[in-house]
């Protein structure tokens, strides 16, 4: 009884299967689909129709969430091409990135220990710049270059940035709530 999953996320929204994507077109297609399948449209329908509606709305939300975020979109696209980004299993990183990683970590630790939101915000800014750079590389690797191995490596790096940023946000939140 699951909604048919023969269409991939891109096809579900009538979009080309590609990393480059127009966010406005994605949003338009998502809202158009949701306005047809959302359970609110079927609140007074029979139980079977309500269940199908919930499955489809769930599917639409999942597809939209995946495609909207560049990292999730890259990972998903690589999966369609048969590449596993290996974020849990493959922890090897180039030496220069490892160095950079350690510097950021130390800066975050110092900011957290010194209860220094400004320092944490500064690292956050650096991460944002690094992310923009890597996303541009990712777009090239998954676009014209079709270099999926490089794409996997970039996804792993971006994943690291995401996690570090989450830690910074948690530390900032803890600081604003006055807990250690």
């Amino acid at each position: 009884m699951n909604p048919e999953f023969t269409r991939n996320h891109f096809e579900l929204f009538g979009l080309p299967v590609a990393f480059a994507l127009e966010l406005e077109a994605l949003e338009r297609a998502y809202l158009d689909l949701q306005s047809r399948v959302h359970p609110d449209r079927f609140a007074s329908a029979g139980e079977s129709e309500r269940r199908v509606a919930m499955q489809w709305a769930t599917r639409a939300n999942e597809a939209y969430r995946t495609l909207r975020n560049p990292l999730d979109r890259a990972r998903y696209l690589l999966g369609l091409k048969g590449f596993d980004t290996g974020e849990e299993s493959n922890t090897s990183m180039p030496a220069d990135f490892l160095m950079q990683q350690m510097e950021w970590r130390e800066a975050v630790e110092a900011g957290r220990a010194g209860d220094d939101p400004a320092a944490l915000e500064a690292v956050r800014g650096e991460l944002a710049a690094a992310r923009r750079e890597m996303q541009a590389l990712l777009a090239r690797a998954l676009g014209g270059d079709r270099n999926y191995e490089a794409g996997c490596s970039l996804v792993r790096k971006l994943r690291f940035l995401d996690r570090l940023e989450e830690e910074i946000d948690d530390a900032l939140e803890a600081a604003s709530e006055g807990r250690p």
Binding site: D40, S44, G46, E49, A53
Partner: protein
Amino acid sequence: MSLLQISEPGESPEPHQRRLAVGIDLGTTHSLVATVRSSSAEALPDGEGRVLLPSVVRYLPDGAVHVGDDAKARAGDDPANTIVSVKRFMGRGVADVAKFGALPYRFVDAPGMVGIETAAGLRSPVQVSAEILRTLRERAEQTLGGELFGAVVTVPAYFDDSQRQATKDAAKLAGLNVLRLLNEPTAAAIAYGLDNASQGTFAIFDLGGGTFDLSILKLTRGVFEVLSTSGDSALGGDDFDQAIAVHWRVHHGLADASGKDTRRLLVAARQVKEALSTQEEAGADVTLSWGQQMHLKLRRAEFEHITAALVQKTLGPTRKALRDAGLKPADVDGVVLVGGATRMPHLQRAVESYFGREPLKDLDPDQVVAIGAAIQANALAGNRSADDDWLLLDVTPLSLGLETMGGLVERVIPRNSTIPVARAQEFTTFKDGQSAMAIHVVQGERELVSDCRSLARFELRGIPPMVAGAARIAVTFQVDADGLLSVSAQEKTTGVLASVVVKPSYGLTDDEVARMLREGFDHAQADRDARLLAEQQVEAAAMLSALRAALAADGDLLSPAERESLEARAASLERAAQGTDPRAVKSAVEAVNRASESFAARRMDRTIARALAGRHIGEVPTS
């Protein structure tokens, strides 16, 4: 038995099918019911013209129950049996309610949720809330002249799963068909947005009697998309009353005042707090239980000083919601104030200074939530007209996860995920030959299980013997459009289906709800059967009319044999609905449901295919 419904002209595409639907704001301090009539939403007054029903329930020794103003008037004399602000106890345990300060109730540590010992016996907060909802249901049915098809009941956006489940149980207990649980700030946004045809990003700042919500919404033409929500489900106007009462106790040597005095002090504190919104100084007369009369006073500056920390407490969730939405205060196009507690001037100043703009307060902060709920109820009941086309996308307020080794939380669904949402996570066994796995579902943002709210525990049994790490247990979380969670687990390697669906542990089981319904003193046996039959007949009629429309539109999706079988079941449903046995109608409804499952799926596939075909013309950029 049930009255014919007559709709107003031009309101519905099929006037004869117009259904009575209401929105109910079940508030901490007061509750109200609203509906859409003559294409505008309005709150419904009681026989004496009062719209707001105080959320106060008094239990008398003879079994009588008073709800509203009558109960409120006696709260000072009979505090232990007069339940005020019961919403704060919904889905909460004894340890949670202890945090609310001195309260004049006899709490009982019942499993999952506190109970309150009253003159009429032990009552659960769910039952107390059901009394309020029942009063409003009766008010609506009397005013509208018929049985309700259904209701949208609002909850604070920051309510967790246990509080939502408790609210839904209370509505069922009150005999309401819950069309949807709707988040209060989202309801306010609907009322506000549709009223003003607003576009842009809005912050809804909703400080009620007992709860605080801050939701960020993006309003584009016809779509209300919640970007993030945050809040504190134990912060509200009541805390400001408590602060005043504590201040008086300290300054007038009333530390030992009894339960009656506690309630009297709180009543006086509320009067003074409300007066201070327009006056520089206010006072109230209090007669204490030992006969002493006092005039208790407070200046606005003092009030603002002793409650400054409470005002500050609203800004933490506000910051969090903005950060989750990826926005700064200046990105917000408008701030809407909701809830009676937002009338306090120092709170308004704090909000204005944080966002750098004057908040909008042109809609009655006490009524806006019920109005929004009524508008959604009208749409969900199928009464919307062709030009009334809008869509609501809400989120889950708190992360949902599982306990893993070491008491740590593995997040499965992050907060602010658009609902409905489903996510599966795979786990494996720890020991060779392990045949069962304990699954502990928690809700909250902290890393340790002990800092999060425990929602449910269950065991997956019957895992076939395997070496450690070989089993693949998929745990699936599904949050539906009401924001309610269900969890299932399944071992996948061997194809053995061992799966279980849980209802959170504090929630009432369907049997318990049924038992409470049976015990309802205003439901004589005959009444109950008649009501049950009427409900089933309404359901049958709705289903048959939906099926006929579906067959007319998409009948070609069925083979002649499939169509014949479906029509045969529809015919037996029609026959059953003319009888008097509610169980026969129910099972015929279920039969039609089962028979139409694959038809429903195929129809939805066709809808999607058509949508895609439509989009391919010119809209999709080619690359």
